[in-house]
């Protein structure tokens, strides 16, 4: 049903209920300040389940990032198209224990390739809080370029990074 992707160190798979506690803990922490957080449990649920509901309706959405070595849940990545998003967004949300190992880069790269090659989503942006230096570095490492002219969700003061186009 929801496709699974294996990379060198990771599996991208469907989210599970058992991922939610760790995700909610992340969203309640100070680390979520760049993701419109910290968020309470109910808000975290709407984020977690909302992105999973995409798959049935739209055929794309977020994956849970699982580390192959130990099966640990590391966060979410994938394509979002919420109602207030002007474009398809490639997003990532990484738990603290998984940071600093290139996991977000590896996962987001795989998700972006899948979106381009299989879901025919040629145009992707990432919405990033201007203070989120780590996420900006990741977007740049992915080859995305700041697009000052792009519309933001509900005119939010976030930065829009546009991913390079690929030949169709």
């Amino acid at each position: 049903m929801i496709p699974m992707i294996a990379t060198e160190r990771l599996i991208l798979r469907a989210q599970r209920m058992s991922d939610f506690a760790a995700y909610a803990e992340h969203m309640a922490s100070d680390r979520a300040r760049y993701e419109d957080g910290p968020k309470n449990l109910k808000e975290a649920w709407f984020d977690f389940a909302g992105s999973q509901g995409h798959w049935l309706l739209l055929g794309f959405g977020c994956w849970a990032i699982e580390r192959r070595e130990d099966g640990a849940f590391c966060g979410l990545t994938g394509v979002n198209r919420h109602v207030h998003y002007p474009e398809h967004e490639l997003g990532w949300s990484l738990l603290e224990h998984a940071e600093g190992q290139g996991i977000a880069f590896e996962a987001a790269t795989a998700a972006r390739e899948y979106a381009r090659n299989h879901q025919r989503i040629g145009e992707l942006v990432s919405y990033i809080d201007p203070d989120n230096a780590r996420s900006i570095r990741l977007a740049e490492r992915l080859g995305a370029v700041f697009d000052p002219k792009a519309a933001t969700p509900d005119n939010d003061p976030c930065l829009v990074y546009r991913h390079p186009k690929v030949a169709a």
């Binding site: 049903m1 929801i2 449990l41 649920w45 389940a49 309706l57 879901q119 025919r120």
Partner: protein
Amino acid sequence: MMRSWESAPIGHAAEISAKIRQTLPILTTQRLRLRAPLIADFDAWAAIECGERGVHIGGPFSREEAWLDFSQAIAGWVLKGTGLWSVERLADGELVGFVLLHHEFGDPEVELGFLFTQAGEGQGYATEAALAALNHAFATLNWPTLVSYVDPANARSIRLNERLGATLDPSVQVEDADPCLVYRHPNPRGAR
């Protein structure tokens, strides 16, 4: 009004979407079909939740809030095995409402929920569809209990629950900002 992103998925994404939808049970009644939701159904959902009818479910909601609610109810299918059906009229395929079997965030037990469009009301459709979902919950899913959470001011929903044979259960407290009645549906196989 439908936005461009609300158009049906294309390419491989359409196949993924269809494959997931095919795993959902379809329930057919005398006049109705309970089927997998489509992105095209969101407009009707938003019209209910963002309008005055949304008052009884904690709204009216913004379109963004309605989207998250629609999406999370649908995610139930993937995350928990049950979720939201769209209800269409067999005669003409017209969408008349939505029925839900879902353990929503923060609720003490699994719920039977129903939301009908204005045009879908007053013809017994909600009763017919809710009954099909209720039978599915007890007979096919083998759930021991099922309740409906109802706004005390929602006289129409209270009447529908009573028509379905549900009774008010004052012993259950729901942790929510808004007042909420719990109607308990009798399990036809008896209590477990």
